[in-house]
Amino acid sequence: MTHGFIYNILSLGVPFSVALLLASLGENFNQRAGVFNLGCEGIMCMGAFLGFLPSYLLKTGPFLPYANLLGFALAMAAGVVLGLLFALVVVTFRAEQGIAGIGLQMLGWGVAGTLFRHFIGGVTGVEGMAAWPIPGLNRIPFLGGILFNHNPMVYLAFLMVPASWYILYKSPWGLKVRAAGTEPRAADSMGINVNRVRYQALMLGGAMAGLGGAYLSLCQAKMFADDLVAGRGFIAVALVYFGRWSPLGILGGALLFSIAQSLQLAIQVGGIKFPYEFAVMLPYVLVILVLALARKARMRGPTHLGIPYNREMRY
């Protein structure tokens, strides 16, 4: 019985982690480059809406098989556009990043909500993305169902962990990103265009947050509502702190959250008396606890996180 219980929790928890994982890995690029992007939440809202839109519009047409792909592409494009907008504000205009991020969050949330109310009106389901079990691997006892019996986005997201590790630590661009976040002045004197790198990181981060949002509406909830994202963008930002700016740490954090979420669902279904509101509250409480318990001494983030770079200024 316990075996089945753990299996259920893990096989649900793994796909739950994807939206957080994608957004958080993207945010990691932003923060590594020195930009604190709280607008992640807003980008996810836009991504969720635009990801959902093609499936909704093409519901009956012959193009339905391509709707998911189109949705993901649109979500990423929106993420890039919003990332660019944010870059314009915080990199070029050097605005205060925390407040600008809240502005971007309101903008993304508001635009997604406005378009949704106008074009769709009520909560409608879509077909969403079907599971693609990996032949052979999904037969492995216990692990097969947990890891290899999901929709393709799950595999993609998990592949993004080593990929973003490789990009950050082994590619020339990753070195530039890390330099822009820790020693922008030194990077600049080595001929790296700090602001350009930050623009690129914000575009990449935006695309990934958009993808994470689209995952929520297309693969996880299979519908869109105004409050679908419900703070996951903020949790993604917190996960970057929790994972100490390393892709592997972020993966751990995302799994911790998603497994906590599936555990909470299992407890509810299991009929254990527990006020519903407290169950919903759990992940948010967890974020605060996790941030509070992460040892400050070991939180060695990018030193220039949140500080705009101005080459004409003396420090």
Binding site: L38, G42, L85, L88, V89, F93, R94, A95, E96, G98, I99, A100, G101, I102, G103, L104, Q105, M106, L107, G108, W109, G110, V111, G113, T114, L115, R117, H118, F119, D226, A230, G231, F234, V237, A238, Y241, P275, E277, F278, V280, M281, Y284, V285, V287, I288, L291, A292, K296, M299, E312, M313
Partner: protein, 370 residues
Amino acid sequence: MNRFKLAYGGAIILLAALASIAGSALVLWAIGASPWDTYVTIFTGPFKDVFGITEILVRAVPLILVALGIAIAFRSGIINIGAEGQMIVGILAATAVALALPGWPKWALLPLVILAGALGGGFWAGIAGVLRAKLGVNEILSTVMLNYIAAQFYTFFLRGPMIDPGELETGSGTPQSMRLPEAAILSRLVPGTRLHTGLLLALVLCVCVYFFLWHTTWGFRLRASGAEAKAARYAGIRVEGSLVTAMVLSGAFAGIAGAVEVTGVHHRAIENISSGYGFAGIVVALFGALHPAGIVPAAVFFGLLLVGADMTQRSAGVPANMILVLQGVIILSIVSAKMYLNNAYAQEKVRRWFSPKDPAETPAKTGGQA
């Protein structure tokens, strides 16, 4: 030179305003609404009758209160995004006190209820303040999370312990509290409208905040911690303590906003009572340059926007979510513009751009003006 400075500032503000208007017009255009008609409805609709005008002020009251709190926090170097949650906790505390002491006279109960709101909001913000000061937890993230947590607490209490027994009897089960006793209700300023005496309280508190921040040692300590933490620390100011104080005060104002909203407008705790005032308050505070004298007109302006947005929803079919778009665009424009407004360096650059071959302009001379 002064004339140039004025023109420079004016141009920046104009550009920011144009960017906000154009940005939101783009969204309006995307949903097939006429931006011009929508703006006309928003800005003139509420002025058609007395009720509309008073309604602007009704919305402005919580905005003023929340924005005052936000201004205290921002000026003290701590960013409080959690006014929404602090307001909700304030509403819960105020409602609980009002319902627990039904027989009390008005002169005792009403101040107590508002104080309870302040304590509730202050407590909720204090969590984030202490976490920041003691454990270095990013206050933006913690306040955002506390918003979600407060919202869940609120529905829990309205559906469970605090639900109106009448709702349970009739079986409709609307999650709302009992009606507050008459002694806990702010009186109306204009009969037949919803305008209540909370407006006067908000204005008095504006003056108080001004004196507190600019004419007391305590306020100076807070502002010094916010302006330059390192220098403040060398001067012997306990910066961490200031952060917690600022956060608690900030939350207390949000809590008062909640208490005033429940005792002045709704007279019972209902769902969606905070309706985004916590976030709009941030925009108002920024728009009002984090100063009480700026916050009052900014709050009235945003009150107008909120009432107008409701009207466009009814008349032009523009979803009320549009107000979020507007707020987001305005925040982005303000923070962008702010970096250029008090930036002598950028100003000098623009000035040289206009008069590139002026031999009299040497760095030594301009350095003095910056």
